[in-house]
């Protein structure tokens, strides 16, 4: 872990923070959105806001796969899991997310549904191999980071001739979501937020590269700094954004050069392109329906598509009343603006998805940052 030490070094962090204080224009308010939940986690885990001047405000974005999955899709997964002869394989984060009518995968499991926690898509393929009499459905979620492994799992199932493996695909794309957030203020809705710049995704950008953000930066005149997940990375990216804003630039800059190139990882992109194609539109929690923002399995792999194999309809579902997850995911509200935060809704009894995942803004706020609020 020596490699990581330099990106967690206190002296380096303080030096960059001093530069931010020096260069931030006191007459200006900087609203910077970190798109990824991973960055939100780092910001709270290391108390980065304590090192920033008061006029730099970090706005937490929707880059948390568990958080943005609409309840209707989770309900579909629960219904799939309850079918006879099915094993639903899922990442552990999904287990406790509340669905509609107080359901969750955890409750379905306690009531007898066969739901297994896996650490990777290949674990799900192995489950299918070792349970030939059962239908194994992999509950695939995530941005471009987890999509290539799902593609490889489907191809592995093809080459192994597995007739009992399928994928319930919920993979979504980052650039359309950034576009949706930037479109929102123009739409004239109240409850939207103006962002001055983006701390761009780390792992997602390793896959897709920095190029896909360029049209966004140019079209909306907003700077992007692609950032690693360590605290020194985040501080350095904030400094890059402050400089761009001060100089009136709106470019895509890459702080995470140790892992991200302009073109990204071609092999991962090819795997995605072989197996998946764009959905015409997809519903996001908080952001509504966004065109061309998600992936579905190509017809050539229809046999491995759980949505086609099991004919399970999608029904839009409402979340808990007064849960502010949707506005929090748009960056329009902070977790503490929610009446349920820390009272009815805690990591032990989550009412909204943002309190479940470690990448969710409410969970990060509650777990690491709630001492900043006056005692209730």
């Amino acid at each position: 872990m020596k490699h990581l030490d330099e990106y967690r070094d206190g002296n380096t962090a303080r030096r960059i923070a001093a530069a931010i204080h020096r260069e931030a224009d006191p007459g200006r308010h900087y609203r910077l959105m970190e798109f990824c939940g991973g960055h939100t986690h780092t910001i709270f885990r290391y108390g980065i806001e304590d090192l920033l001047p008061a006029n730099i405000e970090m706005v937490h974005g929707p880059g948390c796969p568990v958080c943005v999955l609409p309840i209707g899709r989770l309900d579909m997964a629960i219904r799939l899991a309850r079918r006879d002869g099915v094993i639903l394989a899922t990442y552990g984060d999904m287990l406790r997310v509340p669905g509609s009518k107080g359901q969750s995968l955890m409750k379905a499991k306690a009531e007898g549904a066969d739901i297994r926690m896996v650490y990777s898509s290949m674990d799900a393929v192995r489950l299918a191999e070792t349970n030939p009499d059962r239908q194994v459905i992999f509950f695939a979620i995530g941005f471009e980071t987890t999509t290539p492994p799902t593609a490889l799992a489907i191809e592995a199932a093809v080459s192994k001739g597995l007739a009992n493996f399928s994928v319930f695909c919920n993979h979504v794309l980052t650039p359309p979501a950034i576009g949706a957030i930037l479109d929102a203020p123009a739409s004239g809705d109240a409850d939207t937020v103006a962002i001055d710049g983006f701390v761009g995704p780390a792992h997602v950008s390793v896959v897709i590269g920095s190029r896909p953000y360029e049209s966004c930066a140019a079209q909306y005149r907003k700077p992007v700094a692609i950032s690693g997940f360590e605290p020194v990375d985040v501080l350095q990216s904030i400094l890059m954004l402050v400089r761009q804003i001060n100089e009136g630039r709106a470019e895509v800059e890459n702080q995470y050069i140790r892992a991200v190139t302009r073109a990204g990882n071609a092999r991962a992109q090819q795997a995605m392109a072989r197996v998946f194609e764009l959905r015409p539109e997809f519903e996001w929690r908080g952001l509504g329906s966004i065109p061309h923002s998600a992936l579905r399995i190509r017809d050539a792999f229809a046999a491995f598509d759980a949505e086609q194999r099991f004919d399970e309809p999608y029904v839009t579902a409402e979340g808990t009343k007064s849960c502010e997850c949707p506005a929090i995911l748009r960056g329009a509200k902070k977790p503490t603006d929610c009446k349920l935060f820390g009272r009815a809704c805690t990591p032990e009894t989550p009412l909204g998805s943002c309190m479940v995942s470690s990448e969710g803004a409410c969970a990060a706020y509650y777990t690491y940052g709630r001492m900043r609020e006056p005692a209730a």
């Binding site: 206190g10 303080r14 090192l51 650490y119 509650y366 690491y368």
Partner: protein, 349 residues
Amino acid sequence: MNAPPRVAVRRLDLTAGRIDLTHGAGGRAMQQLIDEVFRPAFDNPILARGDDHGMFDIPAGRMAMSTDSFVVSPLFFPGGNIGSLSVHGTINDVAMSGARVLYLSAGFVIEEGFSLSDLQRIARAMGDAARAAGVAIVTGDTKVVERGKADGLFINTAGIGIVPLGVEISGDRARPGDAVLISGSMGDHGVAIMAHRAGLEFETTLISDSAALNSMVAEMVEAVPGTRVLRDPTRGGLAAALNEICHQSGVGMMLDEAAVPVKPDVLGACELLGLDPLNVANEGKLIAIAPAADAAQLLGVMRRHPLGRDAMTIGEVTADPSRFVRMTTRIGGERIVDWLAGEQLPRIC
């Protein structure tokens, strides 16, 4: 006393033999299991009398008692096995009162088909661990359940000890201004177990820190009888133990992240698995809270003991009605050190 009549019984096959239901049925087979596996492994005069109980004199003072059940998977792990863990765990729970730990009981729930050689290895590890800690296993119980009804072997141990006069140690005694000390690196046990779990196997040379802390506690309590709190941060790790203490005492804490020792292997594994080392279990470490004036002396005593060589003062107790455990991070920010929500990884002890 007449010698018991000689009965020609074939000895247990401790190489290839397996537990069957008769070994828990209360008949001769169970007696033979006790005589050939447990009694020689635990070997002490109180147990040797062969009663359904252990009988012993009690010294003056107050007694401390604790019990713990062990369901760890896998049963054998780097640095120990379920047997040594079951002895260390209960000794430590009793020792955290400041007590001199005297006696243990041991109850076994064994699954039909369990290997006798493994059982013997585990029993010997228990005997060795108890003797090394100066504690006697004075009574026990054996039950056998049908195949599929238990995952190999579960062990329950209970322990008792005598608290020296003048020692008053409890989780509710932390006061603002007190120093918070830990005896060494955090997360070793949990990561060593995880590294050997099916599906989570990765290269590490890390071993569990499982150890009996009673001899270090005896030296600490003798040097600083005014020690206020002792606790071993097992399940839930340092974070859970400190939060428990804050709730019991109605105080807060301020820690310094840079002072908390975490081995590079543990940090690396935690990165990989998305865990916080402060939430990961330890089985041979303790937290001590003492008045600030005694902290240097206490730290010296801990560091002179082999189990406390890496001891550190990691922070102080604060007045805080919200009872938050706060921490200054490596980069100079601040955060809460919270309880873990949900289960990080089941069956680590």
